[in-house]
C-alpha cells in the first residue's frame, strides 16, 4: 500500500474493476475516488476549453454520498463527454457541494458502466478514511 496520506490503488477482481482509496477525510476520499475512476478508464482530457460543473448531492450515509458523486461524474462523462481533474468539495451533514472543473475527453480506453455498493464500507484508520469500490465494466 502507498504510504502517502491520499491515494488509490487498483486491486484484483475476477470480472470487474476494484479500487482501494484512502484520504484523511471524506472530501479527500471522494476526490481520490474520482481521480482513481478516471485512471482506471484511461481518460485523457483535452487542454481546452476548461469547463466547470456544480454538483449538489445529499446522501443517507457516507457510502451513499460516495456512490452518488461518482455516478454523477460518470453520467456527465457519457452525456457531455467531459472529464474532471480539479475538485473543490465541501460536505456538511452528508450534503456535498462540489465545484468540479475539467475539459472535454480526448480519449478513453475503457468504459465504467456503474459504481456498485458491493461490500462498500468507509472505514476509519490511523491515517484517516479508507474504502474499496467495485465498478461494473
Amino acid at each position: 500500500m502507498d504510504e502517502s496520506l491520499t491515494g488509490y490503488l487498483e486491486i484484483e477482481h475476477t470480472a470487474d474493476w476494484a479500487l482501494t482509496v484512502w484520504a484523511p477525510d471524506l472530501t479527500g476520499l471522494l476526490e481520490q475516488a474520482a481521480r482513481g475512476m478516471d485512471t482506471l478508464s484511461g481518460v485523457v482530457l483535452k487542454s481546452a476549453p476548461r469547463v466547470t460543473r456544480e454538483l449538489s448531492i445529499t446522501g443517507y450515509d457516507p457510502e451513499h454520498l460516495l456512490v452518488k458523486f461518482l455516478t454523477d461524474i460518470l453520467f456527465i462523462g457519457e452525456e457531455e463527454g467531459l472529464g474532471f481533474d480539479t475538485f473543490e468539495l465541501s460536505i456538511q451533514d452528508l450534503h456535498l457541494q462540489a465545484q468540479i472543473s475539467g475539459a472535454p475527453i480526448a480519449s478513453q480506453q475503457k468504459e465504467i458502466k456503474a459504481v456498485t455498493y458491493h461490500d462498500l464500507r468507509i472505514e476509519s484508520n490511523p491515517r484517516g478514511l479508507e474504502t474499496t469500490i467495485v465498478f461494473d465494466v
Binding site: 470480472a15 484511461g42 453520467f75 463527454g81
Partner: protein, 483 residues
C-alpha cells in the same frame, strides 16, 4: 473463505452448501460444478456471494450457481434465485446492471468453404454497420415518444419499423416483449442515456461473432433449428446499454432506503431489495421490463444490420446469403414463472444473473417447433474458443428453476489479463488461427483474452452431465467484432 470441506457432494456434478453453513441463510446453495472446475471456483468469492444471496427474503428451494460462476458484485455471476411471488423480494443487484444482457443466434445455409475468401470483407462490413465501442451512438436515434414505445413494445417496435420479421419475434424469449413495462417509472437520466444508443453493441465482453457449425451432437434438434455442420452462423451478445445500467443504478439507490422501511437485513448493500408487492418493488419491475424490452429491440436492430452486412458482402457470391433466427435469450433477468417446488406449482420471480433460461420440452412458453426439443440455449465461449448450442431439459426444470449456464465464465482479473497479454499480439495469434478480429481497443481485447476464461467445453460437459441442458451443436469462430 469457503473451502471444499464446507460443501457436501451430491454427485459428480452437484454439490451443496447446507443452510447450516451460516445462520442467516434461508435456503441451501446448490452448486453445479465438476471436481476440476471446483478448484477454480474456490479461488474467488463466488460461493461467498451465493451464500449472501441465500439470505434474500422470500427465497424458495435453493440458490443455484452454474459451473461458469465467478465473483461479481453482490450476487455471483452464474447465480439463480427464486423468490415467492408476490410477497418475496425482487433485487436489482441479483439481475444485474446490464438488464436483459443476452445472446442471439442466426443461422445460414452458407458453407464455410464457399464464403472463406469473403470473410475479411464480411468482418469489416459487420464492424462498419454495427456501431460499437465506448460511448458508441446508434444508427436509430429515438425521440422521447419513440423510446417510450420501445419500452412498451420491445422487438415488436423493431418489427413495425422494418428491422424484424414475425419469425424473429417467434424465435425470441417472450416474443421479444415483456408485459408490464411502464416508462413513467424510468428516470430522465436513463432516458437521456437510452435515446442515442439503440442499435449499438457497446464495449466490454460484448461481441458479434461469425462461427462455423463445427459438430452436431443432436441431429433432430439441430435440424429443427436449421443448423448444419460446416455452415456459417452469427452470434450477437449485448444488452440494454446505458439505459439498463441507469435503471439498475437508480433502483439500487432507491432500495438503499427501502430495506430500512421493510426491515430487511442483508450482508451486502448491493443485494438491496423490496417486496414485489410493495410500491418500490412494483416500480422497479415496471422499469426493469422497459430495459428488457429495449435490449430485445437492440439485439433485433443489430441483427438487421448484420443481415445487411451479409447481403452487401455475399449477395451474388454465395447461393443463399440469408440469416434466419434460431433464438434470442436473456441471461440477466428477473422473470415471473411457475415452478414445481415440493410437488406443488409455485409462482416465483426467478432472478438469473449470468444464467440462461433453459425450459424443457413441452413448455407452453416455447413456440410449437421448439416444444418437442426444448428451448434453445446459447452459450458463447471466450473469444477465439468454441461456443455451444444446447437445449433445456426436464432436469433443468426440476433442478435449477429452468436455468443453465451462460458462458465460459471469467477466472482471471482484467488487470492481470492486461499484464499477461498484449492486445496486438493476441490479435495476431487469433488471425493466424483463422479468426478475423475487428476491435475498438487493444487493451479491451487483452482483457478478454481466452486465458482469462474457463474452458467452455468443461462448463458444457458439467451442465450436460448434471442433465440441466443437452448438447446440440458446437460452434467455432472465424470472425470476431468487439467494441
Amino acid at each position: 473463505m469457503i473451502t471444499k470441506k464446507d460443501l457436501r457432494k451430491i454427485n459428480e456434478y452437484e454439490w451443496e452448501i447446507p443452510k447450516s453453513y451460516r445462520g442467516d441463510m434461508l435456503v441451501p446453495v446448490r452448486v453445479f460444478v465438476s471436481n476440476d472446475l471446483l478448484d477454480t471456483v474456490l479461488r474467488d468469492k463466488s460461493l461467498e456471494q451465493a451464500v449472501n444471496a441465500a439470505t434474500l427474503p422470500g427465497l424458495v428451494g435453493h440458490v443455484t450457481v452454474m459451473p461458469d460462476m465467478h465473483q461479481g458484485y453482490g450476487f455471483p455471476i452464474g447465480g439463480v434465485a427464486a423468490t415467492r411471488y408476490p410477497d418475496g423480494v425482487i433485487s436489482p443487484g441479483a439481475i444485474g446492471y446490464d438488464i436483459n444482457c443476452g445472446v442471439r443466434l442466426l443461422a445460414s445455409k452458407i458453407p464455410y468453404d464457399s464464403a472463406e475468401e469473403y470473410l475479411d470483407q464480411l468482418a469489416s462490413t459487420l464492424n462498419a454497420y454495427c456501431p460499437s465501442g465506448v460511448g458508441g451512438k446508434g444508427s436509430v436515434p429515438l425521440s422521447e415518444k419513440d423510446l417510450d414505445n420501445v419500452c412498451l413494445e420491445g422487438s415488436r417496435w423493431a418489427l413495425r419499423k422494418g428491422f424484424a420479421t414475425e419469425m424473429d419475434l417467434r424465435h425470441t424469449e417472450e416474443g421479444g416483449r415483456l408485459d408490464g413495462a411502464d416508462p413513467s417509472f424510468v428516470s430522465k437520466r436513463a432516458k437521456d442515456r437510452g435515446r442515442p444508443q439503440l442499435g449499438t453493441l457497446g464495449a466490454g465482453n460484448h461481441f458479434i461473432e461469425v462461427d462455423i457449425v463445427d459438430r452436431i451432437f443432436d441431429e433432430e434438434a439441430a435440424q429443427v433449428m436449421g443448423l448444419e455442420e460446416g455452415n456459417l452462423v452469427l452470434q450477437i451478445h449485448c444488452g440494454s446499454r446505458g439505459f439498463g445500467h441507469q435503471i439498475c443504478t437508480d433502483y439500487v439507490d432507491d432500495f438503499q432506503k427501502a430495506i430500512h422501511k421493510y426491515g430487511i437485513k442483508l450482508p451486502d448493500r448491493e443485494l438491496v431489495c423490496a417486496p414485489m408487492n410493495s410500491p418500490e418493488g412494483q416500480a422497479y419491475m415496471a422499469a426493469m421490463h422497459c430495459a428488457a424490452n429495449y435490449a430485445f429491440a437492440n439485439r433485433q436492430i443489430l441483427a438487421d444490420h448484420a443481415r445487411r452486412a451479409f447481403e452487401d458482402t455475399l449477395k451474388g457470391k454465395v447461393q443463399n446469403w440469408h440469416l434466419h433466427q434460431v433464438y434470442d435469450i436473456a441471461h440477466n433477468m428477473g422473470k415471473i414463472e411457475t415452478h414445481m417446488i415440493d410437488g406443488q406449482p409455485v409462482k416465483v420471480c426467478v432472478h438469473r444473473k449470468g444464467a440462461t433460461r433453459a425450459f424443457g420440452p413441452g413448455s407452453p412458453e416455447l413456440p410449437g417447433e421448439y416444444q418437442k426439443i426444448g428451448q434453445p440455449v446459447l452459450v458463447p465461449g471466450s473469444m477465439g474458443t468454441a461456443s455451444w448450442v444446447l437445449v433445456g431439459t426436464e432436469g433443468s426444470m426440476a433442478q435449477s428453476f429452468g436455468s443453465t449456464c451462460h458462458g465460459a465464465g471469467r477466472m482471471m482479473s482484467r488487470s492481470k489479463a492486461k499484464k499477461e497479454v498484449r492486445g496486438d499480439k493476441l490479435r495476431n495469434q487469433l488471425e493466424k488461427a483463422g479468426i478475423r478480429v475487428r476491435a475498438g481497443s487493444m487493451a479491451g481485447l487483452a482483457e478478454e483474452a481466452p486465458i482469462a476464461y474457463k474452458d467452455v467445453d468443461a462448463v458444457v460437459e458439467t451442465v450436460a452431465g448434471a442433465k440441466i441442458a443437452r448438447k446440440v451443436a458446437r460452434l467455432v469462430p472465424v470472425a470476431v467484432i468487439k467494441g
